[in-house]
């Protein structure tokens, strides 16, 4: 029984082994190439690279001895497209179509890796990521949710099966009663990864305790934070894990119907999910009498139209029901009255992805990772002014500093760190003194931010904090569903006040008004969107009050971002080349050739063209 695989560490004790035996066998090859097939790499021409690679291999008659595999997102998006060659775990990054012939010729023919294309080396101490080579980016990561992302081919169920896929399901169906599953999840200490951090086991218990009858299981894949792609990558890279988690959840609470609510803007994730569902059905992991047991369960996909608020569970449920996506007051919670008024277990993608591991390796093992109150790992989409943007998964308790500077590689271009914003558009901005905050639900909340679903944006000294706050509230106010008055009216007024301040028209009372509105909206709004919308504003006022005061009192933006407060001048570096004069769209620059030029402040529209074209640092903005 069972199967053999040379690449992976596990070959588990497979129940119902006959049914899930692997169908294809891997031919003997000399080299195995894994090409990242995540959305970010695809955008950077990985599909074309795949083609060229294929041509090159064909040309050199290497097709027989080199196998090419596609994988889901590795998370190291800043270095994409990524290509890994095994044996040797050599990782190439930022490759172009032109590099392929060289890689093939040098590495595959002459066995000499192309040093200049390799992702920089460093010591690695993480047992999970032996496979990724000595790359610092992965050094401090610990991958549970994303354990298979970048390793297996997400479109091939056999690949998933080779890494103990559906083994947890088999274990649950043969060895565990539903109550035991719930208690294992409770033991793990797993908390909802969608943002609020509600203990997952308790949620399962509530749903399981509801009287038998139609119950639903929902996977919330309506990832709406701008710049966040944790859920998308998890589904694109390893869709079966999410499905397996949901099936186990269905078994635990006594449900036979699951729904994945995913935004329509994720076509690749949807495609892979559809493929995975079909394959799971074919293999008997979904449908009637799963793996010969009495348990039946099936999953369907519902597409969301891209409303941020539909990530809120009651709004999401309304949307599935065909109503306008608006939250409703809780209680009753979905566990009691959810989809179509039935008990509903709703969890986020990342939460579901943790379930198979918890079942296989035990809740106790899982609860050993992380901090006192927050167990396991958390995936973050690292973005903004940081070298290694991308997807990272770290154990709870890792500090912000470790993520930004060790994993993220610090701030590029020699700029100084200013703040890190966690938790998506509704998170707070934390400055330098908070960098040693360990990442867990309580510590982040105490610091004035939130865990959220895992957005993390690094801000450097070139950013204006007032403008950043304005940017986030502009997003949340336009995504407010419009139902409750504090959020609908209040966020718009906050945006108006912030706009006023960034335009140099603010007055000192405006800061008080922002604080007053912010506190009220936070405590009075109907759902999490409104309750967290003021966070970016309140945290920036708290941590960067002097910037607000400068804007209001001195009409000054120290980062030089708020155009209305900027003035451009030409200093003595000017050689009189005339580039700025030619670039100026409103003829505000005057000066004879080879002499210092001058900007007429009355004509200047502060577009910054002169600043960008000047090669002599002669245009100063202040």
């Amino acid at each position: 029984m069972g199967f053999q695989n040379t690449e992976t560490k596990n070959s588990g004790n497979i129940h119902f082994g006959m049914r899930i035996e692997r169908k294809a066998t891997v031919p003997e090859v000399h080299y195995k190439i894994t090409l990242c097939d995540g959305t970010s790499c695809i955008r950077k021409q990985s599909k074309q690279i795949h083609q060229i690679l294929d041509q090159e291999l064909r040309k050199r008659n290497l097709k027989e001895v080199v196998s090419v595999h596609l994988s889901g997102c590795l998370g190291m998006c800043a270095k994409g497209p990524i290509l890994i060659i095994n044996p040797g775990y050599v990782m190439y990054g930022n490759i172009t179509e032109a590099d392929i012939p060289e890689i093939v010729e040098s590495h595959l023919v002459h066995d000499t890796p192309v040093a200049r294309l390799m992702v920089e080396e460093n010591h690695l101490y993480n047992r999970f990521f032996r496979i990724f080579g000595d790359v610092d980016f992965f050094g401090k990561q610990m991958r549970i949710t994303l354990r298979n992302c970048g390793i297996i081919d997400p479109e091939n169920i056999d690949d998933y099966l080779s890494v103990r896929g559906y083994e947890a399901l088999a274990k649950v169906l043969t060895d565990m009663k539903p109550e035991q599953v719930v208690s294992e999840v409770k033991k793990s200490g797993l908390r909802g990864r969608g943002g609020a951090g509600f203990p997952t086991g308790m949620k399962w218990e509530f749903t399981a305790k509801q009287p038998a009858g139609e119950k639903y299981v929902i996977c919330n894949a309506d990832e709406g934070d701008p710049g966040a792609f944790m859920d998308r990558s998890a589904i694109e890279g390893d869709p079966h894990t999410v499905l397996e988690g949901m099936i186990i959840g269905g078994y635990a609470v006594g449900s036979s119907r699951g729904v994945v609510y995913i935004r329509a803007e994720y076509p690749l994730a949807i495609k892979r999910l559809e493929k995975a569902i079909a394959a799971a059905r074919e293999h008997g992991f979904l449908g009637q009498n799963i793996l010969g047991s009495n348990f039946s369960f099936d999953i369907e996909i519902r597409l969301g139209a891209g409303a941020f608020v539909c990530g809120e569970e009651t709004a999401l449920i309304h949307s599935i029901e065909g109503s306008r996506g608006m939250p409703r007051p809780r209680p009753p919670f979905p566990a009691v009255s959810g989809l179509f008024g039935r008990p509903t277990l709703i969890n986020n993608v990342e939460t579901w992805a943790n379930i198979p591991v918890i079942i296989l390796d035990g809740g106790e093992w899982f609860s050993g990772i992380g901090t006192q109150g927050s167990k396991g790992t958390k995936v973050f989409a690292l973005a903004g002014k940081v070298r290694n943007t991308g997807l990272v998964e770290v154990p709870m308790g890792t500090t912000l500093r470790e993520i930004v500077f060790d994993i993220g590689g610090g701030i590029p271009n020699g700029r100084k760190f200013k703040a890190v914003q966690t938790g998506g558009p509704s998170g707070g901005c934390l400055p330098e003194p908070y960098l040693d905050t360990p990442i867990d639900y309580e510590s982040l909340a105490k610091a004035g931010s939130i865990m959220g679903s895992g957005g993390m944006i690094v801000i450097d000294e070139d950013s204006c904090m007032v403008n950043i706050a304005r940017f986030f509230i502009e997003f949340t106010q336009s995504e407010s569903c419009g139902k409750c008055a504090p959020c609908r009216e209040g966020t718009r007024r906050m945006l108006e006040i912030l706009t006023r301040i960034t335009e140099g028209k603010g007055c000192p009372e405006d800061i008080d008004k922002l604080e007053r509105l912010g506190a009220m909206i936070k405590k009075s709004s109907l759902c999490g969107l409104g309750q967290s919308a003021p966070n970016p504003i309140l945290s920036t006022i708290k941590n960067f009050r002097e910037e607000y005061e400068e804007h209001v009192n001195q009409k000054k933006c120290r980062a030089g971002v708020c155009a209305a407060m900027l003035s451009y001048t030409i200093n003595d570096n000017c050689v009189g080349c005339g580039a700025c004069k030619r670039a100026c769209p409103v003829n505000a620059i005057d000066g004879t050739r080879k002499e210092k030029h001058h900007i007429d402040p009355n004509k200047c529209i502060k577009c910054g063209q002169c600043y960008s074209v000047c090669k002599f640092s002669a245009v100063a903005k202040a």
């Binding site: 409303a307 608020v309 306008r324 608006m326 409703r328 007051p329 209680p331 106010q477 336009s478 995504e479 407010s480 569903c481 419009g482 139902k483 409750c484 008055a485 504090p486 609908r488 009216e489 209040g490 966020t491 718009r492 007024r493 108006e496 008004k513 007053r516 509105l517 009220m520 936070k522 405590k523 009075s524 709004s525 109907l526 309750q531």
Partner: protein, 590 residues
């Protein structure tokens, strides 16, 4: 009895029943927590956040309309922070609202105004962009003014939950959210039934009836016209509320006197034609019974119900009684029989109806109801409009000497009176049909089983050994439920009464606004209005339509007999399927 639990409100201990919300518990204990989107008849929206309270141990404020009490709960309803949050919330609503209170039709009767005043809003801190959409004046009866809308969602819930018309919904997001018919269609082209219940529940002036008071004053001042008035049964039972009286005062005599003082030459009564409707409808019903016609027969007096039927239940058109509504019968007679009687050119007769209803404005404009090429009812005003006119004309309504209606089409039996409440038409019909069918007089004429505010009521009478099963529904939502039964099981009932508004006409879309500390469409008030009508009925010696001497005279002098050709010409009509925007003909779907 549930075991009582202990809660603390503002640090005082109280024993309350479990399984209720904080707001319900507080109401019983004498704490009136401010509220806006809440309505006891509608689902919990939790949208306005005005009813927030502080619960110890909770991170945020909770909406007391939605949150259940639990044992040991410590609630604060009036802390400084709460007061300030509530005030700011209401201020935010006010800041996005046209500040035109003294030119607004709901000035003095606006919940937002009252709320703002009770919050102590004396300055505006958050002035900024304000919504500007403009009014939708397309409808015959209901005007939509989204600029005044504060998005409490009561109209949406009323339209979908109680009336099941589903015409109104929120569209767009955030600050741009606006309540509108699907695809922002003009009200006139939408599935709006003109029932006016959105007006009843709206806290501001976002929905209003189309106002005809100025036009009517103009006509009343025209010496060349003979101004003829009629007023619906339930107007007399409710108009007192517009003058500060409790619900349930019968103001019939005062209303007749006030209408004369306003300048009407003749004041008749819709109750007269209600009696006439009974004669025609009972005859039609017996004919259907005897000749195996289409059953169940369904009443046709409610104009909103007629629009609803034509668009949603066209398959039941043959079941609908062909009788016009009492208002249209009355107007038809005013311009024919009455004009002839007083020897004037019918074109000089100006026929006005004061109705508890907004849909009657829509009905009056139906071309098929024209008589001899003339519009039968020239102007329809609601109870609210006529009350305003009386006030505006300086008539001391409450202290006026009561007067009686004019002959020959103004006197009514008790049966005509109870038309104004749910079950009334059925009860009145039974009184007459029984006698017409059996030749005997029905002794026990009060049919208790079809009275009251239960959504769908059933009853039966035995006439000469034949059991006649009847059903009554009020509110279009209940009507839909009942008609779905009728569709499945057409043999279940013989006769069905449908009224478009909750409670029947007493809860009509044109009735006075709820006053301070009262709730629109409060069941208590509806019951009191109904009781006013029932007591008028009880006090009458003539309680059956066919006993009304003026009705007998009318048939003798003019109409010959119920169902005669001339009666058909003046008093009956036909309905046909309607296709407002969004209702797609079945053939087109194929």
């Amino acid at each position: 009895m549930d075991k009582k639990i202990t809660i603390y409100i503002n640090s005082k201990e109280y024993k309350v029943s479990p399984n209720q919300t904080i707001m319900q518990a507080a109401d019983h204990l004498g704490f009136h927590i401010p509220r806006l989107c809440y309505h006891p008849k509608l689902s919990i929206e939790g949208a306005c956040r005005v009813c927030i309270v502080e619960v110890e141990g909770m991170r945020n404020f909770v909406a007391s309309c939605a949150y259940p009490v639990s044992d040991g709960m410590k609630i604060h309803t009036n802390t400084q922070e709460l007061r300030r949050a509530r005030r700011d919330i209401v201020e935010l609503l006010v800041d996005n609202h046209p500040m035109d209170c003294h030119t607004c039709e709901r000035d003095g009767n606006c919940e937002l105004q009252r709320l703002a005043s009770s919050m102590g809003i004396r300055a505006r801190h958050f002035v900024g962009q304000r919504k500007q959409y403009g009014r939708d004046l397309s409808g015959q009866a209901v005007i939509r003014d989204p600029d005044k809308c504060i998005l409490c969602g009561r109209c949406v819930r009323m339209c979908s939950e109680i009336q099941q018309v589903h015409n109104l919904t929120q569209a767009h997001r955030g600050f741009d959210t606006v309540v509108m018919p699907a695809y922002n269609m003009p009200m006139a082209e939408s599935v709006c039934t003109a029932c006016g219940q959105c007006i009843n529940v709206c806290p501001t002036a976002a929905f209003l009836e189309k106002n005809y008071t100025q036009e009517l004053f103009e006509k009343l001042n025209d010496p060349n016209l003979i101004k003829v008035a009629q007023f619906a049964p339930s107007v007399r039972a409710a108009i007192g509320e517009a003058f500060g009286l409790e619900a349930g005062h019968n103001m019939e005599g005062q209303l007749v006197a006030a209408l004369r003082k306003l300048g009407f030459n003749y004041v008749f009564d819709t109750q007269f034609s209600a009696d006439l409707t009974i004669m025609e409808e009972a005859t039609e019903f017996l004919e259907r019974i005897q000749n195996k016609g289409k059953l169940p027969m369904i009443t046709s007096c409610s104009s909103a119900w007629m629009k609803c039927m034509e668009q949603f239940y066209p398959d039941l058109i043959e079941n609908i009684s062909t009788c016009k509504s009492p208002m249209s019968m009355q107007s038809a007679l005013a311009k024919t029989f009455f004009a002839q009687k007083i020897g004037v050119d019918p074109k000089k007769i100006f026929s006005v109806a004061a109705m508890c209803c907004t849909a009657k404005k829509y009905e009056a404009a139906r071309p098929e109801l024209d008589v001899e090429g003339m519009r039968a009812t020239d102007i329809v005003v609601t109870t609210r409009e006529i009350a305003w006119m009386i006030k505006s004309a300086g008539i001391d309504f409450l202290n006026i000497e009561p007067e009686t209606q004019d002959h020959p089409i103004g006197m009514s039996s008790g049966a005509g009176v109870i038309f104004g409440t749910t079950g009334g038409v059925m009860e009145a019909s039974i009184r007459t049909a029984y006698e017409l069918y059996t030749g005997q007089t029905l002794v026990d004429i009060e049919v208790e089983s079809i009275r009251g505010l239960k959504g769908i009521k059933e009853g039966k009478v035995v006439m000469d050994g034949q059991e006649i099963r009847v059903a009554v529904a009020h509110g279009l939502g209940n009507a839909c439920k009942l008609l779905d039964v009728v569709r499945k099981d057409p043999g279940r009932y013989h006769f069905v009464e449908i009224m478009g508004c909750p409670g029947g006409c007493v809860g009509g879309g044109g009735q006075p606004y709820a006053g301070v500390n009262s709730i629109p469409l409060d069941e208590d008030a509806l019951m009191k209005r109904a009781e006013a009508l029932y007591s008028i009925d009880r006090a009458k010696t003539i309680r059956r339509s066919y006993d009304n001497p003026d009705i007998q005279k009318l048939y003798k002098e003019y109409l010959q007999r119920p169902g005669s050709p001339i009666a058909h010409k003046l008093l009956h009509t036909h309905y046909k399927q309607k296709f407002p925007q969004g209702i797609i003909p079945k053939e087109a779907l194929k």
